[in-house]
């Protein structure tokens, strides 16, 4: 089934050409007439719609919609059910599938991209610098060009951790006389009961991206969170969540509980050692927020394996597991072994001559 009306294409209010959001300017800029527009100016234009408008839209059966028509050239855009913003493969224009981000999928807030593609390209190029075992051609231009900016759906949880914890702890004291050394160990049972609050613990809401890599690019600076507007998606891909708030919460809960235990142990600093023997900590959700967070991503295939790299589109934190060039590993191992081996023999000989 095709749905033409739900495809949003941001256009320049001046000349009608496709227009993109420029992170460094925090504005929309037309590449044809060089006009720049603020969010307010874009909102005045029909192409942009506010969060309030989104929420009023009727929720459709999105999963049936996999084919769209480009507003610009009329070509068919094929996207899966979670893609919310993509590009027309023919004319390259941004296609924001706005009904994907409406209704219950309407994000509350968004952190607009602050880092541009060239920042991500530089970061990707630099990621291999100083890494000895990276294949030489890994950061080749072909791979760099694959970098794309994606707004990833995140759930942010405000969590209260409460309950009680029991610990075994010791205090150790040493002293000595001229002949005898003494060690006194005092044993304690510690009890702590109370609560603490965590704000905006993020959990990736997309199954497509591993939680490991998404949590590795944390933290995001939430001061930059702004009210969601489709206009921010110009020039970027976007996803909608496919992990429900309830499913995602277990990750946030585990992290909060872990930090809760650490906070209890930190409260017992005067003890030499402490171990939690019994913990009865629980969590409750104070609030939750559905937001889109900016991530530059590149997926590189090397020797039949995919290597995913992500850069925090706001802070520039670049993360990813680099592949190992086994030949380089072997040659480096051989080199280091030889150097150390010969070095030890030379040092032994010099020491011998000095004796």
């Amino acid at each position: 089934m095709r749905n033409k009306s739900n495809v949003l294409d941001n256009k320049c209010p001046s000349c009608g050409a496709p227009i993109k959001y420029i992170p460094s300017l925090n504005k929309w800029k037309c590449e044809y007439c060089n006009s720049e527009f603020t969010l307010e100016e874009m909102q005045k234009h029909n192409n942009a719609s506010s969060l309030e408008n989104n929420k009023k839209e009727i929720e459709d059966n999105f999963t049936d919609y996999v084919t769209y028509t480009c507003q610009d050239c009329g070509a068919e855009i094929v996207a899966d059910s979670e893609t919310a913003a993509t590009f027309c493969v023919y004319c390259g224009n941004t296609a924001i599938l706005k009904n994907k981000l409406s209704g219950k999928f309407a994000p509350e807030s968004i952190i607009p991209f602050k880092k541009e593609k060239k920042d991500a390209e530089i970061a990707f190029t630099n990621v291999a610098k100083g890494k000895l075992f990276v294949p030489s051609d890994f950061t080749k231009k072909e791979n760099i060009e694959k970098i794309k900016g994606i707004y990833i759906p995140f759930w942010l949880y405000d969590i209260e951790v409460f309950g009680n914890v029991e610990c075994s702890a010791t205090k150790v004291k040493h002293w000595s006389t001229s002949r005898i050394s003494y060690t006194k160990t005092d044993y304690y049972k510690l009890y702590r009961s109370g609560s603490m609050k965590f704000f905006k613990v993020p959990v990736d809401g997309s199954k497509r991206f591993g939680n490991d890599i998404m949590s590795s690019i944390e933290p995001f600076e939430y001061n930059d969170l702004v009210k969601y507007n489709h206009a921010y998606l110009s020039g970027f891909f976007a996803e909608r969540y496919d992990v429900s708030s309830e499913e995602a919460f277990s990750d946030a809960r585990n992290r909060a509980l872990e930090s809760g235990k650490k906070a209890v142990l930190d409260d017992c600093k005067e003890f030499s050692s402490k171990t939690i023997t019994n913990n009865n900590l629980n969590t409750s959700i104070i609030d939750k927020h559905y937001v889109l967070l900016p991530v530059w991503m590149v997926n590189v295939k090397y020797k039949k394996r995919n290597y995913l790299f992500a850069m925090n589109g706001q802070t520039g934190e670049f993360i990813g597991n680099l592949p190992l060039d086994k030949k380089k590993v072997f040659l480096w191992a051989l080199f280091v072994f030889s150097i150390v081996f010969v070095g030890i023999i030379i040092i032994s000989y010099i020491t011998f001559l000095g004796e």
């Binding site: 006194k184 044993y187 510690l190 702590r192 109370g194 603490m196 965590f198 949590s215 280091v336 150390v340």
Partner: protein
């Protein structure tokens, strides 16, 4: 009756082992006290020279204590001849019956015997070995002393090995068994060559072993250390390439001012005290008894020698 005594004497002579006797000579100023080596005979060593029996140094076996029979002497002569032919070193067997309570007395006696009887005279360093047995019933002792280049081939470690191996045979007076074992071992060690530790050492003109430490390449240590360093280097660089680390806590999102403990109780359970005596820290110098590779004592023989012995 006389016939009967004669028959008995003949029988005893027949069944008892035939004992050889060692011929000794007088030491006089005319024959330079029997010393043709380059040692200078003076007041400091004249007494030692004079008390040392002068023997024919073409012989090799001097069984003053009569512990070997003729057959055994013949066997030993064969062994010595074979050894000397193979190595070019002199081998001397000396037995005596001296009441020496001190190892040094035994050593002086045997070493002077070698030095003041022209043994090894054909060799630049007077190289040779003396196997000494003091068969005194109260102070039994046996030893091997090395002279000249044999000090290089038979270091302390090798001599200890030989002395330990032949201990039971000498203790039980099964001398030939011990001697056979000894020759097996000295031949084996000769074939092995000079130990690596002594490869840089040499013998000076007076026969003293000049110990020069040899550089032994620490293959094992170098291999193990290089392996460890390489493993750490590779592991470190592999870890550097793994940048993805799953967040396990939410510390960054904790509002520390929100932490509130309504119960904060530290309950004392019990206490345990241990004590131990401290080391005084004063290090006592350890005295090691080691047989020196080269020795020279006033009055005793002038050349360097090595070796040592055992009670028993």
């Amino acid at each position: 009756m006389k016939k009967i005594y004669f028959i008995i004497l003949c029988f005893i002579a027949f069944i008892l082992p035939v004992k050889a006797f060692v011929t000794t000579y007088d030491r006089t100023a005319d024959n330079n006290y029997g010393v043709n080596k380059k040692w200078e005979i003076n007041e400091s060593n004249i007494n030692n020279v004079l008390r040392t029996p002068l023997v024919d140094s073409d012989d090799r076996i001097y069984d003053f204590a009569n512990i070997l029979n003729d057959n055994e002497i013949k066997e030993l002569n064969d062994l010595i001849e074979e050894y000397e032919e193979e190595t070019g070193f002199t081998f001397v067997f000396l037995s005596a019956d001296n009441f020496y309570t001190s190892d040094i007395d035994n050593e002086d006696y045997a070493v002077d015997f070698y030095d003041y009887n022209d043994f090894g005279i054909d060799d630049e360093y007077y190289s040779g070995i003396i196997l000494y047995r003091n068969a005194n019933i109260s102070t039994p002792y046996y030893a091997i002393y090395t002279f000249g280049e044999t000090q290089l081939y038979y270091d302390d470690e090798r001599l200890n090995d030989i002395l330990d191996t032949i201990y039971n045979d000498f203790y039980n007076k099964d001398y030939m068994n011990g001697i056979y074992t000894l020759f097996d071992m000295i031949n084996m060690y000769y074939k092995k060559g000079i130990p690596k530790e002594l490869s840089e050492s040499y013998i000076d003109e007076n026969g003293f072993l000049i110990y020069k430490k040899a550089f032994i390449i620490p293959w094992g240590t170098a291999f193990i250390l290089a392996y460890i360093v390489t493993a750490i280097f590779i592991a470190y660089n592999i870890i550097r390439q793994k940048m993805v680390v799953k967040a396990k806590d939410a510390n960054e999102y904790l509002n520390y001012s929100s932490i509130h403990f309504s119960v904060r109780e530290n309950r004392f359970i019990n206490s345990h005290t241990t004590s131990h005596y401290r080391n005084s820290g004063s290090s006592s110098s350890s005295s090691r008894s080691s047989r020196s590779s080269s020795r020279s004592r006033s009055g005793s023989s002038r050349g360097g020698h090595g070796g040592g012995g055992r009670r028993g």
